[in-house]
Structure formats: C-alpha cells, structure tokens
Assembly symmetry: C2
Homo-oligomer: 190 residues x 2
DNA sequence: CTCACTATAGAACACCATGTTCGGAAACGC
DNA sequence: GCGTTTCCGAACATGGTGTTCTATAGTGAG
C-alpha cells in the first residue's frame, strides 16, 4: 500500500467532485446529471475532472468503492453473527450511518451499474457461505443458484425500499424483518 | 375504442421501429441504443420517428403497453387460481410465450422506467388482493406495505433471472419455485 | 524561504446525438 | 383517378462529451 497522502489539491478536488455528484444525484437522479453540472457545483475546471476520472460513471464507481472498503473494515472487526444472512445487520447499520451516500449510490436514483456491482459483491459472499457451512445440505428442491439469487436480490430491494422511505425503522428491526421474510413471511397465505 | 385500423404506412412504420428497438436492446442494451441506430435499422426517416413517438423512451413504453394489454386479455379469461400469488403462473406463461420481447423490455438490458411501471402495476394488483381477501388478518408482525413490496420485487427479480438465464425451467416450475420461496424456502438455515 | 514540480483553470476544439422544420415525393383509401 | 395523409431527406440549432494546450497558482521537500 502507498501510505503517503496525495497532494492536498488532489484531495480537495476529488472530494469536491464526489460531494457534488452525491448532491446532484439526490436532486435530479443519476441519469440526468451532466458532467457540466458536476463541474459547476464543485467549481472545478473541465480538464481537471478528466484528469481524475474517466467519465461520470467512474466517479460514481469510486464512491461505491469508498463505501465498500469502509464496510469491509467494519466487517473484519467481527462481532456479527454467523450464517447465510449474517451480513444483513452490519450492512443495514452501515447504510444507516452513511445514509446520504447510500441513498445516492445504492438507491433508486443511481445507475444500474452500481446495482450490478453490489449484486455480484453480495452474491460472492453468499456463494462462499454456501460452500463453507452448507455442504451437501439441499434446501427443499430449490436450486442453489436460484436461492442465492433470491437471498441477495431480496436484501437489495429491501435496503433500497428502506432508504427511499427515509429509514422508517432502525437497522436492527430491518435485519429482523429481512430474516423473517426469508424464512417464510408469507407462510399462511393460500 | 377506435376499431378502424390506422393507415397501412403507419402500421408498417410503427412495427419497424418497435422491432428495431427490440433487436437493438438485445444487442447492446437500452442505454447504448441511439435514435440514429433505430432509424438505420428500421430504415425510417428521422422526422418520421418523431412524428410517432416523443423520444426513445416513449417507443419503449409503447412496447410495454402492448405486453400489458395482451396480458390483461389472458388474465381476464380466468382459469388462474386465487390468492395473493396467483398472478405468477399466468405471467410466467406470458413471458414464456413472448420471451424475446420480455427479455428486451423487462430484462436486464432495459431501462429503469419500465421496471418502475411493472412494479407499480404488480403492486396495485397485490394491494387490491390484500384488501379483498385478507381483511384484518395480520401476517406475523411484518408491515403490510413492506410485505407487498417484497412479494412484488421478489417476483420481478425471479422473472428477470429466468429470462436472463434463457428460461432453464418451464413456467409452471418457476411459479412453483416462487411460491416456495415466498412461503419460507430459507427456513432451515441458522 | 526557495525552487522544482505538479495540479488546476480556462478556453478552444472536434465530435456526436438530439429534436425541429419544411418542401417535395410517394403511398394510401375511397 | 384524386384528395389526403404520411414519409423522406436534408438542413439546422442546441447541448453534452472528451481532448488539448498554455499560463498560473499551489505544494512539499530540502
């Protein structure tokens, strides 16, 4: 790793651009945000932008990677439970703490690319858990890959719902609701 | 309703544009498709396009409305079961029959707007069912709106998964898997 | 503090996609 | 056939993208 901090100007510029993007996404949605908008809001020259990021999408991706790195730090400190669904509480907590960035990056206003990133990130986690804990223990007659996909996409839609509705419940409750839903929340219906 | 068919040229043009859009979405994804691409593929003049549709999105929406109208015709003929999840089999069957259009319009390659349309369409259905069949019958301590959202978004992600993986199972199996998942497919996990 | 280095501003540029307009040609349905 | 509607094609204004260049200003090391 390169421990030496980059030039102060670089930090200032990148920070300004990232903040501007977040604010603009929350205002008009990712697709509608133009590079010119970001430039004006961040008060940064055009050439400077392209010196740092390949395009608008790369800027968004960098934000996602920030979140991901920070989350993994929390995760590595342990304290979470074990099992297939154990990732949910830490991630709800993380989203609660950084709700503004999450709303912009993960929420409805964001682009599809980030959703795909998040999906494959979680999918990799779930697949790993499957291999570790659950060897040769079939779940009903539901195919493994489909079940994994369901676990991940249900979590993501729940997370987005939560963010879009202004976090109406605490993270702990959301994790509990998620696990109930996955274990059969619709069990007593025809 | 206006039973009289429109001018043959109109039918030809609209058909050509719609077909071109579908083909192009399947090739490069909705976002990457340009109006110029559609014009070239459909062999239609630029001004003609804008005489029929407001923009690229309106063209896609018209496709979705075609599907929706056709599905509702099937649905109105009855034969499907009752209950909250009864919509799933007819819709899987419908998607199976028109898989090419579904892949383009509903699948991963499409835009977000269509997903929102489909979501609110299904959501309205589920909410209606809730009011009819389920008055005052709480489901665990899971809030109604969250449960409805989970039912709908799980179905959609399952449908998309199915389409993107080339319909690996018949529609009947998918409907069955869906209902198992909703009733607790992950029940025996820690 | 000085100085070599590096990032930034700002403007100019080519490129491409969008959406509008208009007159003449062609296809339509009756 | 004939009046009507639609289509074509080209031109045009607009606005966003990404590149390049030079002068300027900020930075960190010594």
């Amino acid at each position: 790793m390169d421990g030496s901090k980059p030039d102060r100007r670089v930090r200032r510029t990148r920070r300004a651009l990232q903040d501007a993007l977040i604010a603009l996404i929350l205002e008009k949605g990712y697709e509608a945000v133009t590079v010119q908008d970001i430039l004006d809001r961040a008060d940064v020259g055009r050439s400077t932008f392209y010196a740092h990021f390949l395009d608008k999408e790369a800027l968004l991706t960098s934000q996602f990677e920030n979140l991901q790195a920070d989350f993994e730090q929390h995760w590595a400190q342990g304290g979470h439970g074990v099992g297939l669904l154990a990732f949910s509480l830490p991630m709800f907590l993380h989203a609660q703490r950084y709700q503004r960035v999450y709303r912009a990056v993960v929420g409805k206003h964001s682009g599809q690319l980030i959703h795909q990133h998040l999906e494959s990130y979680l999918m990799a986690h779930v697949q790993r858990q499957f291999e570790q804990e659950n060897v040769g223990k079939p779940v009903g007659d539901i195919p493994r890959d489909l079940l994994a996909h369901h676990i991940v996409s249900s979590f993501m839609s729940l997370l987005i719902w939560w963010l879009e509705h202004g976090l109406p419940h605490p993270a702990e409750r959301m994790a509990d609701l998620y696990q109930r839903l996955m274990r059969g929340g619709v069990g007593d219906l025809p």
